[in-house]
Each structure stands twice: as C-alpha cells, then as structure tokens.
Point group: C2
Chain length 209, copies 2
C-alpha cells in the first residue's frame, strides 16, 4: 500500500473518468480495447494511460490491449467503490436533496444513510426514504452507524464549526460544498465541490476562448 | 489579450479561490495584506502567488503588500464576474433547483434567467421566481435573450444531444453536470462538475490516508 501514497493527485482524479469510459464500453458489450483506442476515448496519449495504470499494477497485454471487465473491476477496487461507504448529509436543502437522491453516487458504492438539519420544520420529513433528523442527533448516529463520510451542504458561516465536530465524532472524510477551505487534521480526507468557483472558471473561458 | 491565452488552467482555477480569500478579508475591513500572510491564507508559497498574479499585471508593492480592494476588483474583472452572464438551466430537478436558487452563483454575476424541462407536470411551475418552460421553447429563448451559458442537469443519455443543440442555438459555454465528457467545437467553453467522480476521489483518499 505504500507505493499508492506516491500516486499523484492528477492520476487519482483521472481514475473515475477511466471507470466511466470502461462502463460505457461494458454496456456496449465490448470485451477488450487497445491502448490507442482507449487513449482516443480518454483524450489522453497511450503512453499517459500506460503510465497512469502502471501506478497500480500490470493491466495491458502487448498485442491484446486491455481486458475491459478486468480493468473496470481493478480500478473499482483501487477507488474502493466496492467498500460500501456510509454517507450522511448535513443540510437538507436542494444540494443535500440532490446528493441523497443521486443514483449515480449510490451506484458507486456511496450510500446516504442519514440526513441532518437544524430547521425544525424539516425534522421528521423524508428525502427518498430517509427521515431528516435534528443535527443534535448526529454525534450518536455517526458512532452507532460507523459513518465514513459527511457531505456538508450548509451555509459557509456554519461549515467550519460543523466540520470540526464531524472530525471529533469520528468521520473519515468530508465532502464540502461550502465556499470555504477547511483546515483540519491531516488524516481527515477532504474533497471540495466549489460550484461558484467552477462557474467562474467557465466565465473566464468564455471571455478568453 | 493574447498573453491571457497562455495562462495555465491551474492558475485560472486558483483565481476564484483568491477572490474568496480577498472577500473574507474585505468583510473584516482589512485594507492590505503582505504576500507572506496572503500565502498562508491561500496555502501557497509567496513566490507562487507573485507568479500567479504576474500573469495578469502588477498588483503588489514592495514593502506595502497587496491592496485588497484593488486586487479583489482586478481579479473580479479578469474572471469577468462583472459581465452579468446570462444562464439557463436545462433540467428542473434537484441540481437544477440548487443552481437556480444559489445566491453564491448570482453574487458572482451569473444570473439564471430561464429553466427548461421536458416533464409536462413541471411546465408552468416556478423555481424562485422563474417559470419552468418546455424544452421546445429553448431555441427561441436563447436567441432572443442572448444567453451565454446553459447548465445541463439532465440524465447523461440526453446530454450529448442537448449539448449539440445548445451549440447550434448560440450558447457560448456549457456547465455540464452529467457524468459524460462532451466533445464539442473548440470555441465552446465547457466546465464539468462530475459529482460522482468527486466522491470517488474522496473514497480513495479515505482508503489511502
């Protein structure tokens, strides 16, 4: 496992894209693919693909290419999508609802099992088949259900404080949708989705393309 | 404008983060900041910050640091957040609703002015104060309202076809929330938000941290 730590962020970020590409090929009943064809589909060079995958083992075979089922399975394992991560959502607004209802996220092994909010009007109502609970119940819930991930879809003013609490309650990873950078202990995994950053980059591209 | 084209993607992606950092300082009535302090807040080195900003002009002054108001204004201009981009949302689901209602996106100059769906039950209902229209009306709407950006929050099976239509209708940029890679003419700006990719990266980090 030590070698894994040296895999660059860029390679890790490409893995889900490989998975999407392979999933598409699988759904078309394709059994194998040459590195050239895979590279065209991925908009990468064949050598970059070989380099990416070599971080994790040997996957291709000279003259045969890649076995799609095997490569798909292997990357799924590397990403841990078979683990069945347990996720809670903090904030039952539109973004929290979108996450909770997302089949795409569920199909990748991330199961939303609890939703929490501090708005009394929402407590007891459901999203999908999950009842919204008061945020006061979250500590107990995390401990007794061994929750891995908390998705934070709350106003940015509240995010830092809630994030720190999540850490003390034993959460392993935070999926942060608030427009702030979290500063937390190094062993806590953080992944940010800054939507307003993303649309600003789009605006820049429009002005400069 | 030619020099802008050579600015790396990484630098462009950091600009919104500068803006968030400067906005926070502004709200605390801070007037200026040394490159050292700014670098600590940004988790970058001071030399990286100088390099980033030098892509766009001269902002810091030896012994004075950065004028926060001026730097904030300048980066806002570079990103085009004063332009008032006109945005339509295709798909009136939870993600479409979240985007439409987002103050954060609006405050950056991206105004959602239309929402479209093909679900007849939704047509005529409103999100915020915007009436959901049938997708058949989108061509006329884009042309008569000079829409810049279409946010695509629709099932991935429909995304490619809709994206191609958007391009022929004159859209300049696509904000793609579907789990596919769009292949479109080069002059069309694309920005992807792949939520399931993001949570898979988080899962990887949890397993390997």
């Amino acid at each position: 496992m030590n070698s894994r730590k040296e895999v660059s962020e860029a390679v890790i970020r490409r893995l889900p894209k490989y998975l999407r590409c392979l999933g598409e090929l699988k759904s078309k009943k394709v059994l194998r693919i040459s590195s050239k064809e895979l590279s065209e589909r991925m908009s990468l060079t064949a050598s970059q693909i070989r380099q990416d995958l070599s971080c994790f083992g040997e996957f291709g075979q000279q003259g045969y290419g890649y076995n799609i089922e095997y490569l798909n399975e292997s990357i799924s394992k590397i990403l841990g999508t078979y683990n069945g991560f347990k996720v809670i959502v903090i904030g039952a607004g539109n973004m929290g609802t979108a996450i909770t209802k997302s089949d795409r996220i569920k199909n990748r092994g991330f199961n939303v099992v609890g939703i929490f909010d501090n708005n009394k009007d929402l407590i007891g109502t459901t999203i999908g088949n999950i009842k919204i609970q008061h945020i006061d119940k979250v500590k107990e819930f995390i401990k007794s259900n061994k929750i891995d991930i908390a998705a934070l879809t709350i106003p940015k003013e509240q995010t830092e404080k809630i994030a720190e609490k999540m850490v003390t309650y034993g959460i392993k990873g935070l999926w942060n949708f608030s427009a702030i950078e979290l500063k937390l202990p190094e062993h806590i995994a953080i992944e940010n989705v800054h939507l307003s950053d993303s649309i600003m980059v789009l605006g820049y591209k429009i002005n400069n393309e």
